[in-house]
Structures are given as structure tokens and as C-alpha cells.
């Protein structure tokens, strides 16, 4: 975290704002990786994710899939057009989330994410958020029902925003899913 002493002696947190040319650089890198996917693995190898504690949470399903309510949480940066876009000017990412309405999302969706090439996902968002396929499984009786509300994050959250992501946003989303009586959550990345 970058901190700076203010004139009054207090310590303020300085945003790690990306200059405009850095944002353009990220978009160009994402395009290059889109054209040449192995490059993505090379770049990803240089990025260190947060390490989860050895104790892994565990909740067995406890009932057949055919009666389960299913929701999706995606970090692909998808959201409704009327919602504020994720902040792409902060080098540590944006830890906030957007509620996605499955009934209307395809009418007005947009993707805000500079760190991957989402041109294919814009043509068919099912490749990051497979709502149409889940609806088919619901009709076929493989799952009980598809939730109305799903949740969108942007990936690439790091540094000083990680704590807010894990301790605030993720907890809020988990509580909303609980309140909605969701039994199974599928997570999809970018």
C-alpha cells in the first residue's frame, strides 16, 4: 500500500492510479494474448496470486442436483449497461461487484475488463456466464432451478483491494446467495 503524509500530519492512502498509456498497454497485451494464447501462460507465471490457508472450507451438497437452485459468480467483468463500469484506472483492480439479472442481462450487458480479450465473450457471453445452457439443464431437469440473480466481479484484484474483496464484497455476495436459498454456486473466471 502506498501511503503519503498529508500537510496536517495524517496519513492518507494514495490510489495506485494507472496513467492512460498504461491502460492502453493492458488492452494491447490482452489483444496479443487473444491472438497468441500461449503468451498468456508466460505472463500469468509472473503473477503471484494470494495463497489460501491450508484449511479449505467444505460444504457437501446434501441433496440431489435435480432439486438444487444454482447461481453463477463470474470474475469476467460482465455487468448491465446501466451499472457503473469496473474501475480500470486502478492498478490494484476494483473489488466491488454487480448484481446480474438473468432475465434481462443479455439485453444490455457490457464487459469492463482490460486484462483479457473479451471480443468472443461479447459475441456469446455464455462462454463466461453460461445462462442459456443452465436454462436448458433446468428444462431438462438436471438441475432444480436457475437463480434469478447472479454476481459479476472483475478479476485481477490485488494489493490493497484484496482485503475488501475477501472480507466485504465476497461476504456480502455469499449472504445474498444464502438469502436467495441458492444450493450450488458455479464460479467462472475470465
Amino acid at each position: 500500500m502506498d501511503t503519503v503524509k498529508g500537510a496536517s500530519g495524517h496519513t492518507a492512502v494514495r490510489s495506485r492510479a494507472l496513467p492512460g498509456h498504461s491502460r492502453l498497454k493492458n488492452i494491447i497485451i490482452a489483444k496479443l494474448v487473444g491472438w497468441f494464447p500461449p503468451l498468456g501462460r508466460t505472463l500469468a507465471a509472473g503473477y503471484q496470486p494470494a495463497v489460501g490457508s491450508a484449511e479449505i472450507p467444505w460444504q457437501p451438497l446434501g441433496k440431489p442436483l435435480s432439486v438444487c437452485k444454482v447461481a453463477v459468480v463470474t470474475t469476467a467483468g460482465i455487468h448491465h449497461g446501466f451499472q457503473p463500469p469496473f474501475d480500470m484506472t486502478d492498478a490494484d483492480g476494483d473489488p466491488s461487484f454487480r448484481q446480474l439479472n438473468a432475465a434481462t442481462l443479455w439485453d444490455d450487458f457490457t464487459i469492463t475488463h482490460d486484462y483479457y480479450d473479451h471480443s468472443d465473450a461479447e459475441r456469446d457471453p455464455n462462454i463466461v456466464l453460461p445462462l442459456d445452457r443452465l436454462r436448458e439443464f433446468e428444462q431438462e431437469g438436471l438441475i432444480g432451478c436457475l437463480a434469478t440473480t447472479h454476481y459479476g466481479f472483475m478479476g485481477h484484484v490485488t494489493g490493497r483491494h484484496l482485503a475488501e474483496l475477501v472480507e466485504k464484497s465476497a461476504v456480502e455476495v455469499a449472504n445474498l446467495l444464502k438469502k436467495d436459498q441458492v444450493d450450488l454456486v458455479l464460479l467462472s473466471p475470465a
Binding site: P49, A50, I56, L61, L65, A76, A170, V173, D183, L186
Partner: protein
């Protein structure tokens, strides 16, 4: 993504994730994952390829029903653009 998954599972909801960067997932340690060596931005495959998208989801459901040890990552055998997927 795995960190969010862990929080949701901790609050008592079953979760399964799809990963295209297995190394990250090994470090983050979410409860259940299926892994694919596919390009970024394509966790469920290619646009307008419903049978491929369905195949990944079916493997996620299978993982939920069969994984019995927290932190398990199932490597899916699907090669990028070189598989035939059954029609519905």
C-alpha cells in the same frame, strides 16, 4: 476467483469453479475445481458452441457429486478446438 469461492463455501453453500490457470488454483486452494488448458476469456469454450459449453458444465456437476476431498482439482481431457462434443 478462488478466494471468493472459499468465502461462499465457508458460509455454507457448495461451490465448484472452472480454472484455466491451474497454478493459481493450486495456491488459492478453493474446495472443488475443474481445470482446462484453454485461452483466457473462454472458460466454457468457443462462442456459439452449445455442446462444448454444456460439456464443461456437466463436468462441473460431476465434480460436485464425486469430489470428496477439499481442494481437489479435476483435469478435464478436452483439448482446445480439437474435440467432438455430443449433440443434445
Amino acid at each position: 476467483m478462488g478466494l471468493i469461492q472459499r468465502v461462499i463455501e465457508e458460509l455454507g453453500i457448495t461451490t465448484v469453479g472452472v480454472t484455466i490457470v491451474r497454478d493459481y488454483t493450486e495456491k488459492v486452494k478453493p474446495p472443488r475445481s475443474v481445470s482446462l488448458r484453454w485461452p483466457f476469456g473462454h472458460p466454457f469454450g468457443e462462442p456459439f458452441h452449445p455442446s462444448q459449453q454444456r460439456a464443461v458444465l456437466q463436468e462441473m456437476f460431476r465434480a460436485v457429486e464425486t469430489i470428496d476431498r477439499a481442494g481437489t482439482i479435476v483435469d478435464l481431457p478436452f483439448r482446445w478446438k480439437r474435440e467432438k462434443y455430443p449433440d443434445r
